[in-house]
């Protein structure tokens, strides 16, 4: 059996009265491309945020390569609400900050592109290489880390080259066209040397040709960097094209899972996307 890279167990995220993610359990194995789909507002990005430490879920557990990175029991008001549901769960609370999770090898992109807006494309990627630095404040400020700095710069250039943005490397990140900004976000994520890459709607705002190219690109990147990829996407062509397995959620709840073919034929999924026809 392939190594399990990511595993979610009964993850629930409730904001006030809204349950954004409801008892979600899933897993991703080494080398897979897995997609998470669902209508707008289904809680996909919230699920990403629970995995990457931006939110601490109300309850549930996230494991990365077998290690528990997040584990929570309902607290405060939520305790009464979820009475009984999580009683078999380990009571120890584990939380990780996003940077700690990135250090473990989980990198992500953002749905609403979050590049460093005053920096050039190259600098954006260079910032992300800092995880590989060993220099301290003094050696860095006094330029005693010359060799390391050179390596970081070369690494950043390699990432830019991998996403095909060498020509734009000195342009301001936010001045790039939309599709290239998305690629730059991927280059930036890759620069942290991840094992698991989370892509939040990488094809949003792209035309069909660009989307096609992106699909190929994602597969190339997986081969080249030996990655496992987990993506949220609305472009069904892309999802059906590249993903090996699919999870579908609606109103935070998992409504289907399986191979692309199975999902396409699943009546629940069709209902979720198109609504029920009224008689």
């Amino acid at each position: 059996m392939a190594e399990r890279v990511l595993e979610l167990q009964h993850v629930t995220m409730q904001f006030g009265g809204v349950v954004a993610v409801d008892n979600l359990s899933m897993h991703i194995d080494q080398g897979e491309i897995v997609a998470l789909i669902g209508p707008n507002g289904a809680g996909k990005t919230t699920a990403f945020n629970c995995i990457t430490g931006v939110y601490v879920p109300t309850a549930g557990q996230v494991r990365y390569q077998g290690q528990v990175i997040v584990s929570a029991q309902p607290q405060g008001k939520m305790k009464a609400l979820y009475a009984g549901s999580y009683k078999d769960f380990p009571s120890q609370r584990v939380t990780s900050t996003p940077d700690a999770i990135t250090k473990l090898g989980v990198a992500r992109t953002f749905q609403n592109i979050r590049l460093f807006k005053t920096q050039t494309a190259f600098e954006n990627v260079l910032i992300a290489t800092h995880l590989h630095r060993s220099s301290n404040l003094f050696t860095a400020a006094l330029r005693l880390n010359h060799r390391e700095e050179k390596q970081l710069r070369e690494h950043a250039l390699k990432m830019l080259e991998a996403v095909g943005l060498m020509d734009e490397k000195d342009e301001l990140a936010t001045s790039l066209p939309y599709g290239k900004q998305r690629r730059l976000e991927i280059a930036r994520a890759l620069a942290t040397n991840p094992k698991l890459l989370l892509l939040d709607e990488p094809a949003a705002g792209m035309n069909p040709q660009e989307t096609d190219a992106l699909g190929q690109f994602i597969q190339e990147v997986r081969e080249r960097f030996d990655l496992t990829i987990f993506l949220i996407e609305h472009h069904m062509d892309l999802v059906m094209d590249i993903s090996e397995r699919i999870y579908v959620i609606d109103f935070g709840r998992q409504i289907a899972t399986g191979l692309p073919q199975e999902i396409q034929d699943n009546p629940d999924v069709v209902t979720a996307y198109l609504g029920v026809e009224e008689e």
């Binding site: 900050t97 700690a100 460093f116 995880l131 930036r188």
Partner: protein
């Protein structure tokens, strides 16, 4: 060709060194010179001559150069018959009389030598980029030195330059935090206060302590430290307090930092004036008699080195992380940047240099009193940063000199009631300068949010491009 240039540079440097050496040596040797000019002690027999000579020596001891020169002239002129003037004495007297201009010439030659060397090496790859700035900085320092000797250390121009250099350091340190890391801190005056006090407390000479701490039996601390050691300690003290505040506050939303640091600055001001701490801080009395600087080169050197260190840091991998946090905290964290650790780092470093700035300010003012480090001081520094451009070090430096010159010098007239003939110019009276000033600042804040430089830096390439465009524009027009 290269060898030729280098040997010329060497000769220039040699001449410079000679000039500097002799003028510096002659500076203190006047009593011995007088001794040598009068080998038979004629002065002792002639009461009038003795009096004239005493006058020279008195004014020399006072350190009043102008009066010394005048008295010396009278002495050598009036009693030339009794005085022996051999060539060596004449030579040294010449150097004493013309010391400032000769040493200025020496500095100039030194810059020329450096420039020439820089030019030679600038052809050789690696040095190319470093050479020109180095030469310019050397020229700047030489310029300050020459100016100081020409216009005198206590002139308004030198006052502005000294205070401007100190404010430049403090503004740059604040910019590191507010402009480069995106943290809104308002504790600058508090950290400067800590720096100023630590510096003063540890450098007041032991023999002066009974007078300074007259209400506290000479104070608790009975030792003194070298100036530079105390200065580093001043920075470390400020940094330590910053670290303490940062522990809880930097884990939270950045708004809380503003209010916590502002509050801290207010508390620290009260605590340092607290009577119970009198044996250390002298309560609400002045601290004085600690070492001060004699030449503007000192604040320029300290501020220059500090600003250079900050600039190096900002362009290093750590500085990149700071800027990432400023641009987008969420994305920065997703790139593995530990927000708390980097914010704490920026905060501590910024406060370290604010502490050093405080020590410099103490030296500049020659006295220290906690009551002077008000939040208005922080506001002024923040507004300097805004005028210069958030995220531009060179902008902060320029704005500091501009601000100090305007407030201490150019706009002074606004505070004086002025009559034009029999017409009394309206509005002009004490306090109007600051009002006019705040209005200008509001205009900058509201309509020129980029300030002078935005987030760009002054560079030679940019300067030449700008001048070029100017020149072309002029021809076209």
């Amino acid at each position: 060709m290269k060898a030729f240039k280098l040997s010329i540079a060497f000769l220039l440097a040699l001449a410079a060194a000679t000039l500097l050496f002799f003028s510096f040596q002659a500076k203190d040797s006047l009593p011995q010179l007088l001794e040598r000019m009068d080998p038979h002690q004629a002065a002792l027999q002639d009461a009038q001559m003795q009096k004239a000579r005493d006058r020279v020596l008195d004014s020399f001891a006072e350190g009043n150069r102008e009066r010394t020169l005048r008295n010396l002239d009278r002495y050598t002129g009036g009693f030339s018959d009794s005085l022996v003037m051999d060539s060596r004495t004449g030579f040294e007297l010449f150097f004493y009389e013309n010391g400032p201009s000769l040493s200025a010439l020496g500095m100039f030659l030194l810059v020329a030598a450096t420039a020439l060397t820089g030019l030679v090496f600038s052809r050789q790859g690696k040095w190319r980029r470093a050479a020109l700035p180095v030469v310019l900085i050397a020229a700047l320092y030489a310029g300050v030195y020459i100016l100081e000797n020409m216009v005198g250390g206590s002139s308004m121009l030198m006052t502005v330059l000294k205070k401007g250099a100190i404010y430049a350091l403090v503004a740059v340190s604040m910019n590191l935090l507010n402009g480069f890391t995106g943290l809104f801190s308002l504790g600058q005056a508090g950290f400067m206060l800590i720096g100023a006090y630590i510096f003063a407390i540890f450098t007041i000479p032991v023999e002066s302590r009974p007078q300074v701490y007259q209400y506290y039996a000479g104070g608790l601390i009975q030792f003194e430290m070298p100036t530079l050691v105390a200065m580093v300690l001043a920075g470390l003290g400020a940094a330590f307090f910053a670290w303490l505040i940062g522990l809880p506050v930097l884990r939270l939303k950045s708004d809380y930092l503003a209010i916590a640091t502002l509050g801290f600055a207010e508390i620290i001001r009260a605590v340092f004036q607290y009577d119970g701490l009198g044996p250390i801080t002298n309560g609400s009395n002045l601290l004085r008699r600690f070492p001060t600087f004699q030449t503007a080169l000192f604040p320029f050197a300290v501020a220059g080195v500090s600003i250079a260190l900050i600039a190096l840091l900002i362009h290093s991998t750590y500085g990149r992380s700071f800027k990432a946090i400023r641009d987008d905290e969420v994305a920065a964290e997703a790139m593995g940047i530990n927000l708390y650790r980097h914010k704490q780092m920026a905060f501590v470093i910024s406060s370290f240099f604010a502490g050093i700035g405080g020590a410099l300010l103490a030296m500049y003012q020659t006295t220290v009193q906690a009551a002077a480090f008000t939040s208005a001081m922080t506001y002024e520094i923040l507004l300097i940063v805004v005028i210069g451009g958030m995220g531009s070090l060179s902008g902060s430096v320029m704005a500091s000199f501009l601000f100090v010159a305007a407030s201490e010098w150019w706009l002074r007239f606004l505070d004086n009631e002025t009559m034009m003939g029999s017409f009394r110019v309206p509005l002009l009276r004490s306090g109007f300068r600051m009002v006019a000033f705040s209005v200008v600042i509001m205009v900058v804040v509201l309509f020129y949010r980029q300030g002078i430089m935005g987030d760009r830096e002054l560079s030679i390439a940019r300067l030449t491009r700008w001048l070029g465009r100017r020149g072309k524009g002029g021809r076209d027009g």
